[in-house]
Symmetry: D2
Subunit: 140 residues, 4 copies
């Protein structure tokens, strides 16, 4: 049976400079946390920007959807869960959850879609060989 999801968890401490005038984390900083999550995933599964870049592939985001559930404060610790999801199309799908470490409250849920561009900036309509191999290597 094939694996349809692969997950990673990483932790971050909220920085003073990430908090806005209302005393809570500015919503745009969650996009950065999601990238922290993707990078941690990339280090674990050898699927980082530069792993792909070396294969002649760029993977820009084409879709980003965030649901904010609770506010996050300065000095709080968060857990970023990043989950790769199988999909047949030539796309990379991730879903995310950000939880407050102290009480595991879900602060944010999100999803992103990335596509493959070659070095000429052209969209790859079929899954690149490198990605197919990466999936096989991970049982997906």
């Amino acid at each position: 049976m094939k694996i349809t999801e692969l997950s990673d968890k990483t932790e971050v401490t909220v920085r003073f400079s990430e908090v806005d005038a209302m005393g809570i984390v500015w919503h745009g900083n969650f996009v950065k946390y999601m990238e922290d999550g993707r990078e941690s995933f990339g280090r674990r599964y050898r699927f980082g920007y530069y792993d792909l870049y070396e294969q002649g592939l760029q993977v820009p985001l084409v879709k980003l959807d965030i649901d904010y559930k609770q506010q996050l404060k300065y000095g709080e610790h968060i857990v970023i869960e990043t989950t790769w999801m199988h999909c047949d199309a030539a796309k990379i799908l991730f879903k995310y959850r950000i939880l407050r470490k102290e009480d595991s409250a879900v602060l944010m849920k999100a999803q992103t879609t990335q596509v493959f561009l070659n070095m000429q900036g052209e969209l790859e309509l079929t899954n690149p060989e490198y990605y197919m191999e990466w999936k096989r290597r991970n049982g997906a």
Copy 2:
């Protein structure tokens, strides 16, 4: 007849520090551009964070959806279109388009939802009087 949409346009020049290692604007920076759009709208229609804050209201984002259409490069000029959309629920809805100024190509479409919190951080389930008045004043 009531107005169901109110719009504002503002222009921004892409900063060097907003461009990533691939030479294009990092996707997270579009969230900042959208805030630029909301602030410009707020200045025009007296609907900024501080206008609301003075009324005892915070308006955090609870939903953010972005579709990226084309990449944006260093030095390019963009037009941010921010459109308030009528909705009966106690929510603030905005839609956004970001266009490259040179050729009016649509680079991004997005939508956000904000809710009302009072100063105790409690959700306002009905439209605050100030917001109702603001709508009337603007013919909406």
Copy 3:
């Protein structure tokens, strides 16, 4: 007589996301404003990152000194004055002043030093020909 300074002025409105939990602009954001100033200078005198990059030159900062004079608040407008200063060594020197537009109060003074690297990342010990020419063209 040779010109020993060249100046540019540009204006910026403080963004909500640039303000910290104390309600004032986070000090790190002044580095971004200084880059806004350098870019505006670059557009005016054809001396931007990409003008230099096309000549095979990178110009990283090696020194940055800032004196903060007064706090800056959300919604305030600032004027960024960026002044190139002549120097015989193979370096680029800029000084900066950031003023509150409303009352011309000086909020910050700063200075930066940049050096020239070639595309191999090696330090250029003498002034690149392109830079000498640029100086002549500007009467410096």
Copy 4:
């Protein structure tokens, strides 16, 4: 004998979004790393923004001096050394070193000066009692 310095070390991994179009960390991000250093110091010695804020004190930066020694790349790990330095005046002095973790190469040296403001935003000309006590508690 009194202690004249107190130090802390913390580690950070360079984020993709912190790298600029030249493939190296944008210089302004070092200001953020220095804040990471100060916050880590604050957690260790109970000297964070909020510890001071609770005492009715704000501690804005009035001076920031950075010497950049070497460039920092995406994916590299850094060590931030933050050292509080004794000084008789009503000021807080920190010096910083940022080292590449792999080879301990010094990438940056810096120094900051902070002053004390009370909640009315007025400068405290003498050392606040809380700060004197904090120094004694730490043998300084």
